[in-house]
């Protein structure tokens, strides 16, 4: 058994730098794509709640994008953007859209009509209702979409290794090319860790920034606003 730990230790000593580098590149790919996706997808999802017929069409389009095999999507970006991180980020961005758009949309749509009616009765404009009632109430669902997209992103970003985008995927591909299982794990395990870490950070963020009155955890103090 100690031979295993010895082996592991020397492997990490040799490859540790490479792994950290790949991890850093992976963070870049994921966050660049997610950043752009959130900025576009949340407003689009919200706007769609106000668009009577366009909503089905847009959701349909975004849904179709998701059905494209991710490897194909990444590959198709290469002739457009050249081989490298840009192609991977573009593909990841497109892939991340659906969960966020859909959740932003349904988050608002599923709000109890009684609440919005009350708000309207109080004289709030459509925009006020959106920002002060519907959006805050949809945060949990929107965040769920963001978290889903983020985890998917980390996984799909490994395909970047095929198009020269760097990241943990490159380690995995080298491992496959050279039949070196250790390298495959060296790429896959940090990717899992990163996905879990980002998911956790997002859930903490959601909790921290949800107004106390709206939190569902037991024993939440009835502190003022």
């Amino acid at each position: 058994m100690s031979a295993f730990w010895q082996g592991l230790k020397s492997f990490l000593q040799e490859r540790g730098g490479e792994i950290l580098n790949a991890l850093g590149e992976h963070v870049y790919l994921t966050m660049a794509a997610m950043g752009m996706a959130i900025v576009l997808a949340v407003p689009v999802g919200l706007i769609l709640t106000r668009a009577k017929r366009a909503d089905k069409v847009v959701l349909g389009i975004v849904g179709v994008i998701q059905t494209l095999p991710s490897l194909a999507l990444v590959g198709l970006m290469v002739p457009l953007l050249g081989a490298g991180p840009k192609a991977a980020i573009a593909a990841l961005f497109l892939y991340a859209l659906l969960p966020i758009v859909r959740n932003s949309y349904t988050g608002v749509r599923n709000i109890d009509p009684a609440i919005t009616e009350t708000a309207r009765a109080m004289g709030m404009t459509s925009r006020e209702i959106l920002f002060r009632v519907e959006l805050p109430l949809s945060v949990p669902i929107i965040m769920a979409g963001v978290r889903t997209s983020t985890v998917i992103c980390v996984g799909v970003a490994t395909l970047g290794g095929v198009v020269g985008a760097g990241g943990l995927g490159e380690l995995i591909w080298i491992g496959i090319d050279r039949a070196e299982d250790a390298l495959i794990f060296a790429g896959a395990l940090p990717a899992m860790g990163l996905a879990l870490l980002l998911d956790w950070v997002l859930s903490v963020g959601e909790w921290l920034f949800t107004p106390a009155g709206m939190r569902e955890d037991k024993g939440s103090a009835q502190a003022g606003a």
Binding site: E14, Y28, T30, M31, A83, G84, P85, G164, R178, V201
Partner: protein, 303 residues
């Protein structure tokens, strides 16, 4: 609560910082050295990168493990400054010519002449070895079946399972062209294998015939036999660096620095270096550095 929120914001800022740092790293190199997705390319690329860093004091970004057909596209777009390639690949796969048995010097002369005109790229001096496609089998099976040359396979196409890498299955200087040239094909379609997996698969009998790269150290060690290309299908594949002309102009000493390797790497040496990485599991950069030091090409005493 306030503390927790601040801490959270700090974590997010750190993540963004990491992302930005790694995102802009590519822009910070002076030259970009590329390599295809097999060991030899990484070793040669490392040699080039280390020579440049050591002698020209420039920052080098490495982009290795690229799918085989990417480097030629990337270098034309300026995403790479240089990468190692093989004359036969340039002649047939990239320039689309059909090899008709010309001697190696002619193939080299052709690509040397055409590349600047077509691509604004230059071939530097040959490194001293050739790494060719081949058809290779287990030595004992070849002896058993009396197979010495590729033509001998024709009688056994029903009994043999081939395993080829994806590029070989697609290129004109690969399986499709071979089938045309020799006039036979395998009855059972060849399996598609990653380059690094082929040698072991052949050794262990999962496949019988592979498109071994002639400088792979495993051919010898695994007791594999390269079949004679009796109908001269495969072109010569002399190895040399392909460099962007604007990089050569921008850094006038680049040419001379890389040409330090000209003629210094013979087939045996390349096989030995490949084997050290593939089977002894050493790192490409160490193996490359060791070679350069042995040749007296690194001015400093390593890093």
């Amino acid at each position: 609560m306030k503390m927790a929120r601040i801490l959270f914001v700090v974590v997010v800022v750190v993540l963004i910082g990491v992302a930005v740092y790694f995102g802009t790293r590519g822009q910070r190199g002076d030259l970009v050295v590329g390599g295809k997705n097999f060991t030899e390319q990484t070793i040669l690329g490392e040699m080039a990168a280390q020579l440049i860093e050591d002698r020209l004091d420039l920052r080098v970004t490495r982009k290795f493990h690229l799918q085989t057909n990417l480097p030629i596209k990337m270098i034309q777009r300026g995403e790479l400054s240089l990468y190692p390639d093989y004359t036969g690949t340039g002649y047939t796969d990239i320039l689309d010519n059909t090899y008709q048995g010309e001697p190696p010097e002619e193939i080299y002369a052709h690509v040397k002449r055409v590349y600047p005109e077509e691509f604004d790229l230059e071939w530097l001096k040959p490194l001293g070895f050739e790494n060719a496609y081949s058809l290779t089998m287990r030595a004992e099976q070849a002896e058993e079946l009396g197979i010495e040359k590729i033509s001998d396979l024709e009688e056994h196409t029903d009994a043999l399972q081939a395993g080829f890498d994806p590029a070989f299955l697609d290129r004109q200087d690969g399986y499709p062209g071979l089938v045309e040239h020799y006039g036979f094909e395998f009855e059972t379609p060849p399996k598609q294998l990653a380059i690094g997996l082929m040698y072991r698969a052949c050794k262990e009998g999962e496949v019988d015939v592979i498109d071994a790269f002639t400088t792979d150290g495993r051919i010898d060690k695994f007791n594999l036999k390269i079949l004679e290309d009796d109908k001269r299908f495969f072109p010569p594949y002399d190895a040399a660096f392909v460099v962007r002309q604007d990089a050569l102009e921008k850094y006038p000493e680049l040419r001379e620095t890389l040409n330090l390797l000209a003629g210094r790497i013979d087939t045996k040496s390349m096989q030995r270096l490949n084997y050290a990485v593939d089977e002894e599991k050493r790192r490409e950069e160490d193996v490359a550095r060791e070679f350069l030091v042995d040749q007296g090409l690194l001015s400093a005493q390593g890093e």
